[in-house]
Subunit: 366 residues, 4 copies
């Protein structure tokens, strides 16, 4: 309960410091009978791997996943799936001057006060490498959801003030540009903006969107474990996230009910909605339309400018961060956002299975 | 685990349908030795009570709290605190025509699919009356936090396009106007806007802010149980919430790191920050400055206009909602937002107590 | 997490002090579509009600259950089921002389040290009345299990040195004698033994057995949430229990593997076992044969003899307990043991539903 | 929630199949500031290592622990401690004839029904190697408890009908004989008994005792999370355990209250008890005297005799188990029992820290 365990039925425990031996995850509660292998999980990890463009850190980590348990001859056993990635390319000396100084925008100060000790190298447990465990879990969760026909589309929707033009939305474009934007023109503008910021030793915020399609209605528990509540908690737990919106999000405060209410209509014998302001969630449960989640990431706090700060001895000082840092968090975080949402939805799908006695009876009648 | 239990150490279970016998909450894990009585809790419940102005439903519920256990001669025992409020003024016939029809913007459809049965009267479990249990819990949580010097300021910051002017911010004004706004001019404008909407049988969205002061640094666990993650999940679980922002929130996507990073400075021997873009949370832990949470509520979905919808038999139909409904959710929800945040912070304060061995040892040395 | 919440999917929160306003339970996670009403639950509570014979306390509590939520027109909604029983017949003055003295064999001392305060009247939270909430939960759990064909036979198997003769086992006899023994001759002997102890102002220990029939194989999760582990924890949590045995229990320490191993045999196309030393549980999962649980209760600690003890001021003193106390715990605890086992099995049935992907898929294909 | 996660604040997730790549554990919630290294943990693992005598399997596993995270320069960080042991000496072919047959006394049948798939090699997840993760957790838990002055004495107290003579109890003897018995004469008799059983291709049950000294009073939560309840659930979850007793255990059913009640007495200004029938636990909380736990292990189910059984196709057949198997579970399980009890007590110590508001306040005043 120090915070590294997540989920109710599909439960993930992640572990690992940035510059320790390895980082990993244990996923308990994954059903038996799923096809999972290292190649499949690696596909997810590659989406967050550094070193792929000018906009991600130049560390050449391969982040090769090792499945240690829970899978036998390519099929899940129903037992805990343990996975890990060895930490490579650790240049700890880059961090030696940070041992006693609190980096602005980072967790250093909180960690020191909370624990009285911290592994200062690369942020330790609060490093971005912590998200490798999340993505391992996301890979497993998406494998489960795939069997229910649930699919994900995730991308960067805004960088600085450059937003994608939704009339140009092209899903295939997402994987073609280094910024994971579904609009090549916005991507090109954003690249120019980022190059300029790099020169200024600065960094940029951004927005990530995740669209989940194919959910059955009724997924999500009432009151505290609502689908949107669980998603918001999951996504806000990713480093750098400062806002989570569902559907129209913040815009609803200026809306009126007659417009914001999505009217139901039968289409081809199916309950549908004329609009989707709700972002696919009503009363905390999926309503059968696309789930829309929007996430705001703050600019990377590690910038190369000299900054005011204090040290562990309570003295004012200055800091100049070196090392290798992305000028923007969002592109590599796209798969992390998707993974957290997948973990939540898979968990809630499993929980929803036991909400009705007639369903439960059917299971044991077979 | 159907979703009505919340918290790790300070654990609350809420229960009750809108038109059942009562609604209530059981709070387990509250420390012994706190002064709590019905008058104190009633003060919190009164902040969400209907019937107080033109902008809340005209039902005249007194919502008088009964403490059933866990308190002996005005002091908490450390055992579960059970509280309840009897449901009064139930006019169930108002709802009889809703039995087979799904109200747009409501949980009806999801409930029917999920459970195959629902108490359609007044929304049943998904009614706003469900929040009474949350406020009972919030009252207990704030009593705990008061002992740590933590205080709350909560209010409506925006209705439609009418925002408070922060230069006119007046904390005392919050309880003086019926909309709980800290700016009497904005409140007057918003009242006019709402009156107009009522005439048009429409409703408005709004924004609520909660500022939490006095937190020790280091509150919040790493990775999944971060302070902001837990707050986002807690607040998003309130009916009608579509967005949660911490600090600068959505605005961070357009920010640059050199500005967004709050620089640390020693002031009077204390670690402080030159700015508070982070909203008091860094790396998921409190950083010693004010916690700033902003919440967007959608417009009340129950409006008196005729709306397209479908019924349980899968037929297109129209619905005209009667009964008594607020034209805006936010004013009565201010105390609910505050309560959920208080529950989270109290829980994380208790968890933080056991994060260091030296602290633990001290407890048992006494 | 102060200990009054139990279960994973089927989750129960109990509350209430012996001499407070009421005692109750909230059951969250019960599937929708079950027939439950107050008469049904009352049948369970009546099995633990005092005042029915010479061997139970003469307090004439009716313990009438009130269902406050979660049931609509006799059917569960899938929402939390809140139930309570008002405390009657409270003669608190009986306890006034116990305020500062620790009763031997009771929780008084631990409570005082742990919380620094306690409701000394009738044991407060550690009273036997606390088990009312457990039985409410058991009633709900058995209703679920009934739909899976699972049935319970529970009884007192031993009082002092008087054991039932298994060749005379008569299920119908259980409800005919005041000691809930399935052997009328043993019951008569035990009654004589207890009458003698009452005269001597003493009390007796006893043993309760619970046989659960009809379980599907495979119920119980691996490693920590094994069926036997969960049962042992659940049953040991009942006041006065000092031992829990599964199948042959303690006797296995003297057994050899060639005998203790239950050999599998196909009978009528079904996997069966030639013997049932395992008590229906292998590797923590049900094996298709009867689950056998044996529980040892200590003698009632409240006896009318003068006893040495200490008081809150740390002085040696003597205590003479008055009031109304059963000379034996077990008969009224039979339904409590059964209830705890039912809660565990129902929870694990629900969890087992999501252990295989093929099962999960089938649910959503419908 | 498939059962491999344990604990509330001190939370352990174990993973690994017998013949997979490795077995391990992740411990979350361990306080910062403890001295832990691989040598320390190895000392615990060595107590359960096979190949040390005639009475343990001849597999020569070294079971060398690797600490992967959570410890920095020999001190715990407060972050998850990940540990693992690579599986060596895997002779999977020994098990190939078991693929389709259910071993009597084993989990094979339940696993197959539950998951529809299993790793049959060496029991897979239900192998005794699963306990390595428990012992890793126990090592961490004992390190925490050591700081509170809590110590453990664990040993085999009975094998077959050979019990230790308590007048000969010698703590130092425990580590001197291969059976971990505190009485060298009983150990010699038991060795002869076991040798005889080995020749007969049979196996023996046994009893393990664990005495925990130095607990503060008041440890354990009320109702469901009582100290004895948590211990019983924890210990019963170990493979082969069929009974758990606290204090006088099963014997209490034949006792009378006047004797069974431990009378309190002040000794040297401390609350003590004249006897310890309660085994150190009253009302589910520690009472300041020694905690006494007694555990009954069934005989090893893997015996070399031909046994009746059935196969996966539902046919009667015979089985003859080969491979390397201990003729008795208990000696190597002593440290496992101790570890599970340590995990429970450490968790409850941490929970008890937040039971009183005055204690909580003191933490944050510093």
């Amino acid at each position: 309960m120090a915070g590294s365990v997540f989920g109710e039925i599909l439960k993930i425990s992640t572990w690992g410091e940035s510059h320790g031996a390895a980082v990993g995850a244990v996923i308990d509660g994954c059903p038996s009978g799923l096809d999972i292998n290292e190649e499949y999980v690696q596909g997810f990890l590659n989406r967050r791997r550094p070193g792929q463009s000018a906009f991600t850190t130049q560390r050449s980590e391969t982040d090769a996943v090792n499945i240690m348990s829970g899978v036998y001859e390519g099929t899940t056993l129903g037992t805990p799936i343990s996975m890990m990635v060895y930490n490579q390319s650790q240049i700890s000396k880059d961090y030696s001057d940070l041992e006693n100084v609190y980096r602005p925008g980072h967790a250093d100060y909180g960690f020191q006060v909370k624990y009285g000790i911290r592994d200062h190298r690369g942020g330790g447990r609060s490093s971005g490498r912590e998200t490798i465990g999340r993505v391992m879990g996301g890979a497993v969760a998406e494998k489960i959801l795939d069997r229910f026909g649930v699919t994900f589309t995730s991308y960067v929707s805004k960088i600085g003030n450059i937003e994608i033009d939704r009339s140009r939305f092209d899903k295939d474009e997402i994987m073609r540009n280094s910024l994971y934007m579904p609009d090549c023109i916005a991507a090109a503008e954003a690249e120019a903006y980022l190059k300029d910021l790099i020169e200024k030793k600065d960094s940029s915020g951004a927005e990530v969107e995740c669209i989940v399609s194919g959910l059955a209605p009724g997924i999500g528990e009432t009151v505290f474990d609502k689908l949107d509540a669980r998603i918001a908690g999951a996504v806000m737990s990713i480093g750098g996230v400062k806002a989570v919106e569902i559907g129209d999000g913040c815009a609803v405060s200026a809306a009126v009910g007659s417009v914001n209410n999505d009217k139901f209509r039968m289409v081809d014998g199916k309950v549908t909605k004329e609009t989707n302001h709700s972002g696919g969630i009503l009363g905390g449960m999926s309503d059968g339309s696309d789930i829309i989640v929007r996430v705001s990431f703050k600019p990377t706090p590690s910038i190369y400018q000299k900054q005011n700060t204090v040290n562990r001895d309570g003295e004012n000082t200055e800091i100049e961060i070196h090392g290798r840092h992305d000028p923007i968090i969002a592109p590599r975080a796209v798969v992390v956002v998707e993974s957290m949402i997948a973990l939540v939805i898979a968990d809630l799908y499993m929980l929803n299975s036991v909400s009705r006695m007639d369903r439960l009876e059917n299971i044991y009648k077979k």
